[in-house]
């Protein structure tokens, strides 16, 4: 039975969600969510969902309390002296504490998608790839005891004993024999599934500071969240590079700090290797994201463009290059890429000046629906 309070509760949750949607940009850019990575749900603090009244402010306010203490002794921090109501407290209005709401990552991704007007991705290879799935939807005459279908077995035994004239209603004992037994059985069904792989590449040369890495991390988190919602299974690979490239795990990806020069082509080689090894492009939707401050060793540029055009772009759904602004980098590389941008649909370029720009950058990357 649906109760009135459930309706009011739903209503409240809807308002909270609306509030989060309104402030989504704040949550996206501040990266608070990162600490909650890997969990099903996140709790988001939502202040200010309350009805305003005329109330006294703090200045000049006071109250009466009970207990030990000298004059001038502090008894509580401003803003929240004594929670809850009661006379003599300055903060006697309810709802002072910040409400927290639980959202699933899925919902959050959906909000992000709505806010950025991200199109749903039409995965390729949906028909070619299949995962099999078992469903228990039939019976057969043999099987393990753990799958025995008791009801059917009993029915058959009952029928047999009645037919044989052994059944006595006053003493209704039915003993199944081997022939009566039926077992649950399954059918295997192929289910089309689209798989996606994300390869993140990041420049860890000396010119990338922690601030830039923070931006990359936040952006990568939201890209992950969105793609995870779009695809059943999402595989991730991480590559760091300075003059040489290494494939690393996620943790190392964000922590590594090198001081060498920069040779972006090394990362492209590593990327190509990963694609060929793990993700045959016919079966996988491959996404590559590269983050750098745009400072490349000059002679390497030509090499990069050739590799990109020949070995990587043809295999990717998207290749996104995000250039974070760094106080040290020259930021030349994006200009090199701009020259070939028109030739390749998969290539997306974005400049991320600061945290604020993350929001728009995500839109640039994922707004194509590929």
């Amino acid at each position: 039975m649906s109760r009135a309070i459930d309706r009011d509760s739903q209503r409240f949750k809807k308002i909270v969600r609306g509030k989060i949607r309104g402030d989504l940009k704040k949550y996206v850019t501040q990266g608070e969510m990162l600490g909650r990575k890997g969990r099903e749900t996140v709790s988001i603090p939502v202040p200010n969902i309350q009805i305003p009244h005329f109330r006294h402010g703090q200045k000049g306010s006071g109250g009466v309390g009970q207990g030990e203490g000298e004059e001038g002794q502090p008894i509580g921090k401003g803003g929240r002296p004594g929670e809850g109501d009661g006379p003599g407290t300055a903060g006697n209005e309810p709802g002072r504490h910040i409400r927290e709401v639980e959202l699933t990552m899925e919902e959050l991704a959906e909000m992000l998608g709505e806010a950025l007007e991200l199109p749903n991705i039409e995965p390729k290879g949906k028909d070619e790839i299949s995962a099999s799935k078992d469903r228990y939807n039939s019976v057969r005459r043999t099987g393990p005891d753990s799958l025995r279908h008791v009801k059917r077995t009993y029915k058959r035994a009952l029928k047999r004993s009645i037919a044989a004239g052994e059944f006595d209603p006053r003493n209704p004992v039915v003993i199944p024999v081997r022939e009566d037994e039926e077992y649950r059985s399954w059918t295997t069904r192929p289910e089309p599934q689209a798989n996606a792989a994300v390869i993140y590449m990041m420049d860890v040369s000396g010119s990338m500071t922690d601030e830039q890495k923070g931006i990359v991390r936040t952006e990568a988190f939201w890209i992950d969240t969105w793609l995870k919602k779009q695809y059943g299974g999402l595989q991730r690979r991480y590559v760091v590079h300075d003059a040489v490239a290494h494939e690393v795990d996620e943790d190392t990806f964000y922590r590594t700090r090198e001081s060498g020069g920069t040779r972006i082509s090394s990362a492209y080689s590593a990327c190509e290797k990963i694609i060929n090894r793990d993700f045959p492009p016919s079966e996988w939707n491959v996404y590559a994201f590269q983050f750098s401050d745009g400072d490349n060793w000059g002679e390497d540029n030509a090499d990069c463009l050739a590799k990109l055009a020949d070995d990587i772009l043809p295999h990717c759904n998207l290749f996104c290059y995000g250039q974070v602004e760094s106080p040290y980098g020259s930021g030349d590389f994006i200009r090199e890429l701009r020259r070939v941008e028109g030739e390749h649909d998969q290539l997306i370029l974005s400049e991320i000046e600061n945290r604020e720009a993350i929001f728009d950058s995500i839109k640039e990357f994922l707004g194509t629906g590929r």
């Binding site: 039975m1 109760r3 009135a4 309070i5 309706r7 009011d8 509760s9 739903q10 209503r11 409240f12 949750k13 809807k14 308002i15 969902i49 009805i51 305003p52 009244h53 005329f54 109330r55 006294h56 402010g57 703090q58 200045k59 000049g60 306010s61 006071g62 109250g63 009466v64 309390g65 009970q66 207990g67 030990e68 203490g69 000298e70 004059e71 001038g72 002794q73 502090p74 008894i75 509580g76 921090k77 401003g78 803003g79 002296p81 004594g82 929670e83 809850g84 009661g86 006379p87 003599g88 407290t89 300055a90 006697n92 409400r99």
Partner: protein
């Protein structure tokens, strides 16, 4: 509703109720019939969210409160033991999961509340059929929701709730407005029909000489002019109006359904007001009776520890928060003791001898009688005003605290009796909320609303004041102004629903710069 439909009480609880009820009557408590219901925590939270009533109008705020209560219960932070509503018969809810000792305690406590509801003067004007009334309100608002849409109605309710506390707590006890109007009308008629007092008595043939017509005409004209001038300067409302909601109901351009919704909110605000007005007394009185009944009658020896634990939990004090249960029960006990020993009256007041005062005992035995009288006539403010003594403050280590702007801390301000009492009374006045009145419904002759904040030393919380003013101007349909104090200077807050403005209060007649700009638009 899934509950409150004749769920019989378990036999043992029913027996308890009967025994405790009989005992309570024996002590002289006077209450309406009381109906107990057993509910689980989920239902209790729901009832608590609805302010004790099973049926309320739809609004998200109830959902928010329910959510919060369920959460804080499931994390073990809080638990609602009991709830009782002021109706005839009284309905009270018991938590199924409580052990028997708790049930006894709650039942005894509830009878204290029921007696208070019935006998305290400040509750005398409340609607005792509020259960029906609330359901009626819900039905009406549900109808509007069906007709005008959820969003629309909810948005309007939000606005009304934002100003729901702008009511006049003394209005229920005032002469009804119609009566006042009738009386003043009658007085005016009497004045008009009475022979002009400024006419000298004279024989008819001498009249035109004793009372020359020209002079009379002159005087009549002057009087008429004076009356007209008075009418022009007459303020609207004539006197500052505490009941802002009533003023809005009478004069704001509301649609019929909006008018009805606002009147519902106002109705419920008046219903709940006395409970805030008598929090200390009400809880103190109920606690007094649960201890009395439990310790003298109902408690089983095996339950003593549980009882003591839960009672002391309820009475716990903390430096930042005055516990109304504790303050109330101790004051009632103090009064009882003083009147038992005769520690009152001119003789007691005049006595300066400390030793004599300490051993003062006239053995009058008037205590019980006195506290029954106190619970009948007082509310929290008069209760504190009348019965808080320096000895009491010292004994209970009371102090006043104040906010220190420089450190952002609340600090102990004083242990002097006068200051404590003043601070306590201040924070009880209007529940510690600012007092706001309607000063002018046609401010600057432009149909704007002017409100005044009775400055009591504490400024308004600005962000909320803004939001509330915005809501008010939406209700009023024209800009709203509020005379208050900002940064220790008199100022007027102005809000036209979108824009917001603070100006220092200017002398009367002087116009603010913004006006000129606005007028040319």
């Amino acid at each position: 509703m899934p509950f409150s439909t004749h769920r019989p009480l378990p036999a043992e609880i029913r027996d308890l109720q009967n025994a405790i009820e009989a005992k309570a009557r024996e002590y002289g408590l006077d209450f309406f019939e009381t109906v107990f219901e057993m509910v689980d925590y989920d239902e209790m939270s729901m009832l608590a969210a609805y302010g004790g009533f099973p049926v309320r109008y739809p609004h998200w705020r109830f959902g928010a409160e329910y959510d919060e209560m369920m959460k804080s219960y499931s994390y073990g932070l809080s638990k609602i033991y009991e709830m009782v509503i002021n109706t005839d018969p009284c309905y009270a809810y018991l938590l199924t999961a409580n052990e028997l000792a708790d049930q006894k305690l709650v039942i005894a406590h509830v009878y204290g509340h029921c007696d208070f509801f019935k006998c305290n003067a400040w509750f005398s004007k409340t609607n005792r059929r509020m259960l029906d009334q609330m359901a009626n309100h819900a039905a009406r608002i549900n109808r509007y929701v069906d007709r005008f849409g959820h969003e629309e109605v909810e948005k309007f309710i939000d606005r009304c709730l934002s100003v729901e506390d702008l009511i006049d707590p003394h209005l229920p006890f005032a002469t009804p407005r119609e009566e006042v109007a009738r009386q003043s009308e009658a007085a005016r008629k009497r004045r008009e029909t009475a022979p002009p007092a400024d006419r000298f008595e004279a024989k008819p043939y001498m009249d035109q000489f004793v009372n020359p017509p020209e002079a009379l005409e002159e005087r009549d004209r002057e009087r008429k002019e004076r009356d007209e001038a008075a009418r022009d300067t007459r303020r609207f409302p004539e006197r500052p109006e505490r009941d802002v909601l009533l003023f809005l109901l009478d004069h704001a351009p509301l649609k019929d359904w909006q008018h009805d919704v606002l009147s519902i909110i106002r109705d419920e605000a008046y219903y709940y007001f006395p409970q805030g007005q008598t929090k200390i007394m009400n809880e103190g009185w109920a606690s007094y009776w649960h201890t009395t009944i439990m310790t003298q009658f109902a408690l089983d020896p095996s339950e003593v520890v549980t009882y003591a634990d839960h009672h002391s939990g309820t009475m716990a004090t903390s430096p930042q928060r005055l516990n109304p249960y504790k303050l109330g029960i101790e004051l009632f006990r103090d009064i009882e003791e003083r009147w038992n020993k005769g520690q009152f009256g001119p003789e007691w007041d005049a006595c300066d001898d400390r030793a004599a005062k300490e051993s003062w005992d006239r053995d009058l035995g008037l205590g019980r009688e006195k506290i029954f009288e106190v619970r009948r006539v007082h509310n929290d403010i008069t209760f504190i005003e009348e019965f808080l003594t320096p000895e009491f403050c010292a004994k209970h280590k009371m102090f006043s605290f104040a906010y220190n702007d420089a450190t952002d801390y609340y600090e102990i301000a004083s242990r002097e009796f006068e200051k404590i009492k003043k601070q306590l009374l201040n924070s009880l006045t209007n529940h510690g909320r600012p007092v706001i009145r309607v000063l002018d419904g046609n401010y600057r002759n432009r149909g704007e609303l002017l409100l005044g904040h009775d400055w009591g030393g504490v400024e308004l919380r600005q962000d909320w004041a803004r939001a509330t003013l915005t809501n008010l101007s939406n209700l009023w349909g024209r800009p709203v102004n509020l005379e208050t104090t900002v940064d220790e200077q008199p100022a007027i807050l102005f809000c036209d629903g979108e824009e917001f403005d603070v100006t220092p209060k200017s002398p009367r007649g002087a116009r603010r710069r913004r006006d000129g700009a606005k007028q040319t638009v």
